[in-house]
Amino acid sequence: MALEDFVSFIVAQAIAGLASAASLFLIAVGLSIVFGVTRVVNFAHGSLYMLGAYIAYSLVAVMGDSFAGYLLALLLAAVAVGIIGGVIESTLLRRIYHAPELFQLLATFGVVLIVQDLTRTIWGPDDLFAPRMPGLDGAIDILGHAIPTYDLFLIGVAFAVLGGLWLLFRKTRFGVLLRAATEDRQMVSALGIDQRWLFTAAFVLGAALAGLGGALQMPRQAASLSMDLSIIVDAFVVVVIGGMGSIAGAFIAAVLISELLAFGLVIFPQITLVLIFLVMAVTLVLKPSGLFGRPEFLTAEDVRNPDPPLQPSDAIAKAGWRVLLAWGLVAPFVLGEFSTVILTEIAILALFAASLHFLIWGGGLITFGHAAYFGLGAYGAGLAVFHLSAGMAPALLLAPVAGALGALLFGWFCVRLTGIYMAMLTLAFAQIAWSIAFQWIEFTGGDNGILGVWPSAWASDPTVFYYLAFLVCAAMIWALRHVMFSPFGYTLRGTRDSALRSSAIGVDVMRHRWLAFTLAGAAAGVSGGFFAFAKGSVFPEVLFVSTSVDGLVMVLLGGMQSMAGPILGAIAYTEIQTELNRVTDLWQLVLGVFIVALVVVLPRGLAGLSALLVRRRTS
């Protein structure tokens, strides 16, 4: 390649990267502004982006014949999404501002599910292509490369928004208030501002930016139902790198990531994701709060509602455990053979939920990507069968090793962060694992998955396999419970209560968290391994965020503050899902509403329900 060609190639790629950065910036900056003001990480931000695209599609169909009409359609889509955002804020978010981060993430994920199904119902399941933008449908020649004029337009819009936000934040009273709220909460209440108004306004602004980002994508890519989650993960990566609450950080990180993708895809397409992983990792090690983030977002120690001290099982609890165990042993006979499939799934998911509960409740480690270790266990077992023709026993032994190794690697970074940063990073890692499983077709089979992961002959009878899964999972759950009472578990609990005190009594807090993360990863790996054999196959979905959310819902449903919570949660959740699937296609919608209701009405789970009823009765 001649030097000229090389230069023009670089320029063309750089411009393509910048054009992609435009939308990513609009999403990330909105997410960041909303977080700065309300301290809520809005998982549904990607859904607003998706809505922007779909609404723009419909508006363009009506009025998009001319440049001006098209432009107006895009702007109206942004306005519409802003209004939708306002509705979401004032009906849902307002009720959860004081809830723990995990609940906020989960509730907004409920919104993701609701928007998913509503969008599918309104616009249908197929991808929708909008026409190109009149007047901007051509290309211009830059150094011998044809650059779409629309890309240049996008870059212009990004800079215009950046400039507009800068003016807004520096020159208007509203902007000063937003900045004040981001930098110092007390100051805002001291100024006597109606916080509710400010929060709603910030959310509307963020939503409109997301809507605009989605609308602007229409001429470049089809509107599809997977837009929401793919963009939100990218946006998480951007704000983790750029720093929460920082506009400049969002801009620079969006450009960085997009350029990395633009060049990475050309130069080494296989490892682009790994590259992003590395950039994120290096940034976080050097500056845990991101390039422009504020360290105090990292160090919130939660002393609002201390849990009561751990109680060893009393006579009633012991009896309860025995009943549960006995039920597990006789259930296949009582319920009949056809029930063993569901019983097996419950046993497996109970272990998955218990390993998550161990991290969240036992160690205060908020993970939104626990599917990674479940999925690695499943893939570890599946790949061993597929590539090495391993038998069931060695494959099942490999599962926890795969889960633990993944947790060892990802955990090393994650334990450096706390709270919401940790939640986002765990999610990002899990999604990266998912993309790898999805894209590395030669090794993992990609979307087609790995088939033929069947139990060995001696365990091929469903009842026998059930007993195997049940006994191993029950033993693991018991072991996790035992660990919570051990010195290791108490020390972990201590790091959750006060990292400051822990380090002052000689505890290496990060190492301790890292080990706990690895232990939970191994346990999740075991359940993933069994899951692979129970299903006879492994698909990338086991690594997907929805699997993580399933685990979280089980834990919350069962009640966080109870050792039996994850088990009860797994039972209830599996039953609910089975029944729902039978009666409706819109199970995501129902599940979403259910999650939102769970967080808003029953933040203490089923175990809390009884407490709530008792209180009602006595008051």
Binding site: P306, P308, G489, D497, L500, A504, I505, G506
Partner: protein, 253 residues
């Protein structure tokens, strides 16, 4: 050999020189009070000694070993116990469990997965708890304790590694008059019994002049005076910046 030697220690936050070239030493069995107005840099100095913040310059030696810039969990291994200005305890545990966790760390079994913690180090923990006068509260949840009792608990926890040096940031803040006296008598007894050195900050001048062997006065990150309590009390410069408002018995805040 001094228990603690601090040499030219400095720490700035942006333009604020919170600690600005501080040097002093603390000997075994000595009670040294660090006083100074709000924002003088007392807590920052503690944090720099204890590894909570990285000092910009200077050295910290504990019993002859260099600990400058080491993380708190390492400094602790050199025999440094700490109580905080705003108490830091494990709120979801009982008093006894708080001390047991610290003892597990001291006995290097924090990674132990075997026997449940509540069966371990019980007697040792109860002895420490009795020592700080919390015997009756041993099985109570920490979240139910009065603030003064939290301070006592912190002291018990800080004693778990048989420290050579105790760093106590405002040990009596938030306590009633009687409680203050009791707390300091406890400290006095520890010093007499086991020869631990105590470096403490305090705004109550009765406590300072009643319980310190030596006083160091900090102002805007620098030591402006140090010496025996009576000498410091008479110092004109000290009266100007700090004790001006102190008139026998009043509390400077």
């Amino acid at each position: 050999m001094s228990v603690l030697t601090v040499t030219d220690l400095a720490k700035a936050y942006g333009g604020v020189r919170a600690v600005d070239g501080v040097s002093f030493a603390v000997e075994a069995g000595e009670r040294v009070a660090l006083i100074g107005p709000n924002g003088a840099g007392k807590t920052t100095l503690f944090n720099a000694i204890h590894g909570q913040v990285q000092p910009d310059a200077g050295r910290v030696m504990v019993r002859g070993a260099e600990t400058t810039g080491q993380a708190p969990h390492r400094v602790w291994r050199h025999g440094v116990g700490r109580t905080f200005q705003i108490t830091a305890t494990f709120m979801s545990m009982t008093v006894l469990e708080n001390v047991q966790v610290a003892l597990a760390s001291y006995h290097r079994s924090a990674l132990g997965l075997g026997q449940a913690l509540r069966h371990r180090y019980r007697d040792e923990a109860l002895a420490l708890i009795a020592q700080v006068g919390l015997r009756d509260a041993a099985n109570r949840a920490v979240s139910e304790l009065a603030y003064g009792d939290l301070k006592r608990l912190e002291l018990a926890v800080a004693l778990t590694n048989a420290p050579a040096l105790l760093l106590m940031d405002e040990p009596t803040a938030g306590m009633a008059g009687d409680g203050r006296g009791e707390m300091m008598k406890l400290v006095d007894r520890l010093v007499a019994d086991v020869g631990v050195a105590v470096l403490f900050t305090e705004h109550d001048m009765d406590v300072v002049f009643g319980h310190a062997d030596r006083v160091i006065v900090l102002d805007r990150g620098r030591i402006i005076a140090s010496g025996a309590p009576d000498v410091v009390r008479a110092d004109k410069g000290v009266r100007a910046v700090y004790l001006g408002t102190y008139d026998d018995g009043a509390v400077v805040t």
